[in-house]
């Protein structure tokens, strides 16, 4: 493998507490050397990238994406989804199991990681917690883990039965896997297509009460507390309500292994962004009230939120061009996450750059135990994003590398443009537009 030297940039590696001008040498898919500008020792013959004026950071990691393969290739494939990830600066993604069929087996887990899928960045499958995500029969977590699964979840089909969730938490803890819960008590959300609130009343749509999320988070936390000695780890996916964040905050004070992620749309948008039935503002959990959105911002700024994850959920145009209540849930997110985080968290709300990048790399890597990722210390994987932190630009979904275009952020101003994305030493994205 060729060596690659990135020179002249500002290295921001929150895992190592570095924010300084540094050159970095990548060799054989690993970080070989980090040195003061012009001081790389073993860069002879290496290809060189000029990062003057640019930030060099660990490749971003998104622990919540839907790559739609196997079975839903008209929405996205592993190749197109990971190309989109690379364009957004991501070098690793964790893929949810709600595929067709559901990823509940070592065979599918391996199939997703096979070279034939054409992945541009590293794909970490997340296995289904129960057979077919039906909530009835628990899967063989040791086998899933051996095949490469990094967590288990029945994402989208939350585990409602206390006994089953307890069993899943305990079994996952025994093999050292995290349990990710899409927290939604579906008994409270039948037929609902947006947040229950002023907007849903005004629009004549059935609403999902915030309690449908928070009550399940609270239930799950009780189970984790019961399993305290087993060191069970609960990760709350796409947290969207103030009450859920409060529950996670309290659980952490109590010393429990409970983590949570927030998606950019949940810290930026509210139910008012649904406008007049914009299906590109329909997702689950739904856009909430301004108070809930503010609680997401608060949780991110004060540190209770462990990761920004996009819940990248591509859908074909014809699937979204239907009556609001019939449209599928979800929006794409891989290409807009960094630009939105830098624009809002860093630029508007003054979160230090290192902390923003940590939420997009070091912390999600730690959360799922992805060794050698989310860091640029010598010996770790050569996963790097190089971006221009000052560049303001307009996101144009027409240029997307995803198969789908279902985003509410088309035309939005972004800050920070990716110049190169490098995954395990290979340049997988170079800025073109």
């Amino acid at each position: 493998m060729t060596a690659l030297a990135i020179r002249g940039g500002r290295l921001v590696d929150p895992s190592a507490g570095i924010d300084a001008p540094k050159d970095i040498l990548l060799k054989d898919g690993r970080v070989a050397e980090v040195a003061a500008p012009g001081k790389l020792k073993s860069a002879e013959g290496a290809e060189s990238l000029d990062a003057t004026g640019l930030v060099v950071a660990p490749g971003l990691i998104d622990i919540h994406v839907h790559l739609r393969e196997p079975g839903q290739g008209h929405k996205e494939t592993i190749a197109t989804g990971t190309a989109s990830a690379a364009m957004g600066g991501f070098t690793a993604v964790a893929a949810m199991p709600n595929t067709t069929p559901v990823n509940d087996s070592p065979e599918i887990t391996r199939w997703m990681q096979a070279p034939e899928r054409g992945a541009q960045v590293r794909v970490f499958p997340i296995g289904a917690a129960t057979r077919g995500s039906k909530g009835e029969t628990i899967n063989d977590f040791a086998a899933l883990k051996a095949a490469g699964a990094v967590a288990v979840t029945d994402d989208g089909k939350p585990i409602l039965k206390d006994g089953m969730m307890r069993e899943v938490l305990a079994a996952a803890a025994r093999v050292g896997l995290s349990v990710i819960q899409h927290a939604e008590d579906t008994r409270m959300t039948q037929g609902a297509s947006m947040n229950l609130g002023q907007a849903s009343f005004r629009l004549g749509l059935r609403g999902m009460p915030p309690e449908a999320e928070s009550s399940l988070v609270e239930r799950d936390i009780r189970l984790v507390a019961e399993l305290r000695d087993a060191r069970a780890h609960l990760h709350v996916a796409h947290t969207s309500t103030a009450a859920a964040v409060a529950a996670v905050r309290q659980a952490r004070r109590n010393g429990l292994r409970v983590t949570c992620e927030v998606a950019p749309h949940h810290f930026l948008l509210t139910e008012d962004h649904v406008g007049l039935y914009n299906t590109h503002a329909k997702m689950n959990p739904p856009l909430r009230s301004a108070a809930d959105r503010d609680a997401m911002i608060e949780g991110i700024l004060d540190g209770v939120v462990d990761a920004i994850a996009t819940d990248h959920a591509p859908h074909a145009a014809h699937e979204k061009e239907v009556e609001f209540e019939h449209a599928p849930n979800g929006i794409t997110g891989l290409e807009t996450a960094l630009g939105l985080c830098l624009r809002w968290l860093h630029h508007e709300w003054k979160m230090p750059l290192g902390r923003v990048l940590s939420l997009l790399s070091a912390q999600p890597a730690a959360l799922l135990g992805l060794r050698g990722r989310g860091t640029l210390t010598v010996g770790s994987f050569a996963d790097v994003v190089v971006f221009d932190p000052e560049k303001e630009w307009s996101y144009r979904v027409a240029n997307t590398r995803s198969k789908s275009k279902n985003t509410p952020f088309d035309g939005w101003t972004m800050q920070g443009k990716v110049r190169w994305t490098i995954c395990e030493g290979r340049i997988v994205y170079t800025e073109t537009v």
């Binding site: 039948q190 037929g191 609130g197 002023q198 849903s200 009343f201 005004r202 629009l203 004549g204 749509l205 059935r206 930026l268 948008l269 509210t270 008012d272 962004h273 406008g275 007049l276 039935y277 301004a290 108070a291 959105r293 503010d294 911002i297 608060e298 700024l301 014809h318 061009e321 239907v322 009556e323 609001f324 209540e325 019939h326 809002w344 508007e348 709300w349 939005w412």
Partner: protein, 342 residues
């Protein structure tokens, strides 16, 4: 930019919701909120003119223009009155219903709309069981779309014909309306507010003319959230107290098809909310009784009240034809008449 309300910190700037791009077509009537009071006045005035016009002259206004009625839900009054209204202006109409068309085979609303446009439809009147469907249809076809009731959301022509009925009784001779026209008038809407598009359109329109809208019903059918729909709206759970204040009593049907598993004790409901002759005589002997229909005699309203002297229910139906003539005319001539958005 809107301001976040995070208490412990300085207010944060957050991204505002984007402005609406609707309506795409100036002839569309999607929501009562699309209409200025001037536009409401014009519709009311045209309704009167058209109603009184010689049918043989009226017949030429939209002669041979094509209007499609696209109905995904059963309807008697709305469908028939829209059809009669369009025909009275000379338009050719065609009815497409979900039960006798390719909709049954899975054709989407978008494709159905594009097909109707290709067939020459110049306007589409849509009744749909999903809230928001008219917005989708308008965005996809850019034709004038008249919302003939969408799910639990709006039914703008019903609110306009209700307004015409109210004016005829309380403000006879009123030619135009303004924000004081209904000052001092209390309209009580009673029943299944949550699932009612009629209630939403009326509660958004009538307060703009100065009316007080009182909503009445049990919590299951009338959440407190209804107060947030707009100004001029109050909630009164006690039907008799509401009735005592009312000049207009609008009764709504319990929409069994939209209850979605909600259990309701009908005997209790009747005891608390049924409009009976005895209640009416005792509490609101002068009030006008309205009901958008279909009425369920003996449930929300007794047969005696429905057929009684205070009932304007059949007047509402008649006003429906007049209002819909004006609205169909506006759909096809709006661009010329009003030079753009109402």
């Amino acid at each position: 930019m809107t301001q976040a309300t995070t208490s412990a910190r300085r207010p944060l700037t957050t991204p505002p919701a984007p402005p609406s791009r609707f309506p795409y077509n100036p002839g569309s009537l999607l929501s009562v909120q699309d209409l200025s009071l001037e536009a409401v006045s014009r519709i009311l005035a045209r309704a009167t003119v058209l109603e009184n016009q010689d049918p043989l002259q009226r017949d030429r206004i939209l002669a041979k223009r094509r209007v499609a009625l696209l109905f995904y839900e059963a309807s008697t009054r709305t469908r028939t009155s829209f059809e009669l209204a369009a025909k009275a202006l000379g338009a050719d109409t065609t009815l497409v219903s979900n039960l006798s068309s390719s909709i049954e085979k899975g054709e989407t609303l978008k494709d159905t709309g594009l097909t109707l446009r290709a067939l020459g439809a110049e306007a589409i009147i849509l009744r749909h069981n999903s809230s928001g469907a008219p917005w989708l249809l308008e965005e996809m076809t850019h034709l004038p779309v008249l919302n003939a009731g969408d799910g639990m959301h709006e039914h703008p022509t019903q609110a306009l014909l209700d307004l015409r009925t109210i004016l005829a009784h309380l403000r006879p001779g009123a030619e135009t309306v303004n924000d004081q026209t209904l000052a001092g008038v209390t309209v009580t809407i009673t029943g299944d507010i949550l699932h009612s598009r009629v209630a939403r359109s009326n509660m958004l329109l009538l307060p703009r003319l100065g009316a007080n809208v009182v909503l009445c019903g049990p919590k299951e059918l009338l959440p407190e959230l209804a107060l947030s729909a707009g100004p001029g709206i109050t909630i009164e759970r006690d039907f008799e107290a509401a009735l005592r204040r009312s000049q207009v009593a609008m009764m709504l049907r319990i929409q069994a098809e939209r209850l979605a598993g909600l259990q309701l004790d009908l005997d209790e409901y009747k005891a608390a909310y049924q409009l009976t002759g005895q209640r009416l005589a005792r509490l609101a002997p002068q009030a006008v009784v309205l009901h958008p229909g279909p009425i369920i005699r003996g449930l929300e309203i007794t047969a005696g009240v429905a057929d009684g002297v205070q009932s304007a229910i059949l007047e509402q139906v008649r006003n429906g034809v007049a209002i819909r003539m004006a609205v169909v005319e506006r759909a096809l001539l709006a661009a010329q008449q009003e030079g753009g958005r109402a």
